[in-house]
């Protein structure tokens, strides 16, 4: 039993359990301790929001920027092409999605190129889906033709 208390995940579990149980105060309003429960709920929600914000910052922003700026030093020319394509593509497409600065003057060109890169990506996505569905249709048609003995089974 004593070994369990040496494991850090137990304390994370208990903290989560207490945070969850504290919400019972929201529904049942236990007498005398209501104010303390309310305070704990505020604290628990704050901690949870902070953890969520940190997770979002790390996963959706920092790691993506990191992946965009890490150069393939010593890599093949194709690696450099991929690196520049994704990094500059990210910058140009993001510039297209800025709305408070008008897309005129010098800012016209990056936003325009960003839109073209975006359309290229969307076209690739669309084409890929169509190709995949055509391949599936081909398989179905082949199967039916074999069932009706129009073409031989392999």
């Amino acid at each position: 039993m004593a070994v369990i208390w040496r494991r850090p995940e137990v304390y994370i579990f208990i903290t989560g359990l207490v945070m969850g149980l504290s919400w019972l105060g929201y529904f049942f309003e236990p007498p005398l301790i209501t104010e303390w429960v309310g305070l704990f709920q505020t604290w628990a929600t704050g901690i949870a929001q902070f953890a969520l914000a940190l997770g979002f910052l790390s996963a959706d922003i920092v790691k993506q920027i990191l992946a965009s700026v890490e150069a393939p030093l010593g890599g093949a020319p194709m690696d450099w092409f991929n690196f520049l394509w994704t990094s500059l593509g990210f910058v140009l497409i993001t510039s297209y999605f800025t709305f408070t600065k008008e897309h005129t003057g010098w800012y016209f060109y990056p936003t325009k190129i960003g839109r073209y890169i975006l359309m290229l990506g969307l076209g690739v996505y669309f084409g890929n889906t169509v190709q995949f569905r055509m391949a599936m249709l081909g398989g179905r048609v082949q199967y039916l033709l074999q069932v009706f003995k129009i073409i031989p089974w392999p």
């Binding site: 922003i61 920092v62 920027i65 990191l66 965009s68 700026v69 890490e70 150069a71 030093l73 990094s87 500059l88 990210f90 910058v91 993001t94 510039s95 999605f97 800025t98 709305f99 408070t100 600065k101 975006l118 359309m119 969307l122 076209g123 996505y125 669309f126 889906t129």
Partner: protein, 82 residues
């Protein structure tokens, strides 16, 4: 019919199909920007403006990082690994 179709979505999986089938498309965040532009609600406009500032900062970090990393200086990537 002569009618034209305006469509918009923030769902990246549906976006290519909407682009292929519509005359005018609101791509992702443009949908929210359009709402803020039409209604001029301070909360929506402030949200768009705040996101724009964040985007400008991220663009600057990426461009600086891109230039430095290309010449072998790993300052930005080390900073982002905190």
């Amino acid at each position: 019919m002569g009618a034209f179709l305006i469509a918009g979505t923030a769902n990246t999986h549906q976006l290519p199909f909407i682009v292929a089938t519509s005359d005018y498309v609101l791509i992702g965040e443009e949908l929210y920007a359009a709402a803020a532009y039409i209604f001029r609600e301070p909360l929506q406009v402030a949200s768009i403006a705040g996101e724009d500032w964040m985007k400008f900062i991220l663009i600057a970090i990426t461009l600086i990082g891109l230039l430095l990393e290309s010449v072998g200086i790993k300052y930005i990537s080390d900073l982002l690994r905190w």
